[in-house]
Amino acid sequence: MHIIVCIKQVPDTADVKINPQTHTLVREGVRAIVNPFDLYAVEEALRLREKFGGRVTAISMGPPQAEQALREVLAMGVDEAKLLSDRAFAGSDTWATSYTLAMAIRRLGGAAVILFGKQAADGDTAQVGPGVAAHLDLPQITYVRRIVTVENGGDGTPPSSTMNVAPNTMPGAFLVAERMLENGFETVRTPLPCVLTVVREINDPRLPSLAGVLRARQAPVPRWGAQDLAAEPAKLGLDGSPTRVVRIFPPKSRMGGVMLEGSPATVVAALAQKLKDAGIESSRGGAAARRIGSAGD
């Protein structure tokens, strides 16, 4: 089984601080890390390989330093990595990014499952996974919290890593997964190949072994540019991005925080009073909280 995982290198948002004078992001000392959600996707890919055999390829679109992120997942046990990096990709929004990744996945060929983390910690859009699925015309399951079954189909022979089929043509192969919704989860069955985006609940990512780290240091990380992807230039980078950022600014800081002081009884009474003044009251049986329901009820 060939499994492809798409990862992104992002700034560690825990380190990102706002400069109090200029109100802009302070970049010094901010580590670049593998997007946290992508680690769950990588771990799931490795588990699929452990169960079914095959290989895992990680790809990432980014500037040259994104190679470090690919080495980190190689150290976890990913078999191969490719870095998609080219000036032509600069300025990509999620439309152009998902197009670029889709072209790389097409070039790699033979993927049964394509995995993404739910969203990236810098853009936070969660658009690229479904966008790639749409570009590749593949079914998708988002918010996957558990893969229940994978059936590789065909005549029952175990999945082979030399299998090389085009999308939409893996007869009999399917996957069943649990997809998280706001009030529960649904169980979804999809034929393969398919795209999955995974949430934090799905697994606990392994730490790289020392052997893995050493191996990853030596591993080649080929770089693919626009030429290697047979991509249409008009769909790449800035030209391929329907959206553009007009302005960036800091959020208004919350003002007027008040510390309530005194004995426990005093502070609780003060707090309860402030909340009542703001219109918060006890409800009976949860009527104040809204659920999915019809309007005007």
Partner: protein, 397 residues
């Protein structure tokens, strides 16, 4: 480089470094003068604004293709579960109404489902001038592919200028597919929308970097301009049963309704408390609650207030609460009227999930806890003893 999109006028540059500090992406550095790394630059323009000598300019991309004039109206996708309309739809209709009025165009609700024609009148009462309905048995429950195909078809057929959708699990799965199918630009999780009075473009503002910054985005050429909006961010209109609107049933080819991924089961979360995604009030607990059993205290408070019950990642990792309750960067983002943070220190990844709550109450033993910088009301104390007292105070009221 022949197509430099960001140009630095070396004669004007005084190497003051303001641009280097302003750049959220680390794309600028000072050599003799400022220099830009085009691979990192996203053309956000933060540097252009801060340069004291106007040494930096962005070359505007000439619009390609036909700009939006022939694309009209504001659309709202109606997310439903059975016969229930998701509350975010009313908020989108409220915001959509304001945008349509600013444009002098119509607001149209788009409803896909099975046996849903009867819901159309409520959508008109909620602000829609028009409701487009596709009513087919195979659309009885949400599935990504047929919904995306049908919505894309309707978009191509009617050419709306703007399409709004709730940033729910459904919306965030569906709309990116539609954006690819229609070549549209999509901005996720918008917290503010406005019409630029000169260009008539939709200005979409949203948080990024875990909420550390806000970005305003526009889609100058491609249509429709698509945006998802989180629940509880926009304001609904007052229901007006006297409002009139037209309902139009649309037919689509059967081939569009084919779905490869199929729902084969649904397991609701058994819970006595409200869903946190839509709750007006949330009571949330962190490691400061000390042990799993103490969450019963929070549950009692939640019951009394009719609130949802949330948790930090540390609590979920410890197995005290299920992942569906996790609030924060790798969990859910919520926007209630009131957020009561009990024994939560306020790490930035948690704040990313709740900092836009209207009123934040924080109870924590540690006076240095970061959450106190964000809280509206802060109490230094042990949540385990204070929460039951607060519960009682509300019961006594």
């Amino acid at each position: 480089m022949s197509d430099e999109r960001l140009k630095i006028d070396v004669d004007r540059c005084t190497a003051c470094g303001a641009c280097v500090e302003a750049c959220p992406f680390g794309a600028l550095k000072l050599e003799r003068v400022a220099a830009v790394d085009l691979l990192r630059c996203t053309l956000c323009g933060a540097c252009v604004e801060v340069c004291p000598t106007d040494a930096i300019s962005r070359t505007e991309r000439a619009p390609v293709g036909v700009t939006g004039d022939s694309w009209r109206d504001v659309w709202v996708f109606v997310e439903i579960e059975g016969a229930h309309i998701h509350p975010v739809v009313w908020e989108l209709l409220g915001e959509g109404r304001r945008l349509a009025d600013a444009l002098g165009e119509r607001l149209c609700a788009v409803l896909l489902g099975n046996q849903v024609r009867g819901l159309a009148d409520r959508l008109v009462a909620g602000g829609a001038d028009r409701v487009l309905v596709v009513d087919r048995p195979t659309l009885a429950c949400f599935q990504d592919e047929p919904f995306a195909a049908v919505l894309a078809e309707l978009v191509n057929r009617h050419r709306p200028a703007i399409l709004l959708c709730g940033a729910t699990n459904v919306g965030r799965s569906l709309i990116p597919r539609v954006a690819i199918l229609t070549g549209a630009g999509l901005t996720a999780d918008c917290t503010a929308l406005a019409i630029d009075p000169q260009t008539r473009h939709l200005l979409q503002t949203r948080p990024a970097f875990g909420g550390n910054i806000l970005a305003t985005i526009e889609c100058p050429v491609a249509r429709p301009q698509m945006a998802t909006v989180r629940p509880k961010v926009m304001q609904p209109l007052a229901v007006d049963l006297a409002r009139s609107g037209e309902v139009q049933v649309e037919e689509v080819a059967a081939a569009m309704l084919a779905a490869r991924a199929m729902r084969i089961g649904y397991t609701p979360e058994a819970s006595g408390t409200a869903s946190i995604a839509e709750a007006d009030i949330i009571v949330a607990g962190g490691r400061g609650m000390q042990k799993a059993e103490n969450f019963q205290l929070l549950e009692k408070l939640a019951h009394v207030l009719g609130a949802g019950l949330g948790a930090t990642r540390a609590v979920v990792d410890a197995g005290w609460m299920p992942y569906s309750r996790q609030i924060g960067q790798t969990g859910q983002t919520v926007c209630p009227r009131l957020y009561i943070a009990c024994g939560i220190s306020g790490q930035i990844q948690h704040l990313a999930g709740m900092s836009s709550s209207e009123i934040i109450v924080a109870i924590n033993k540690d006076p240095e806890a970061p959450i106190f910088k964000t809280a509206t009301y802060g109490i230094v104390g042990d949540a385990v003893s204070l929460v039951p007292m607060l519960t009682q105070a509300f019961l006594d009221a």
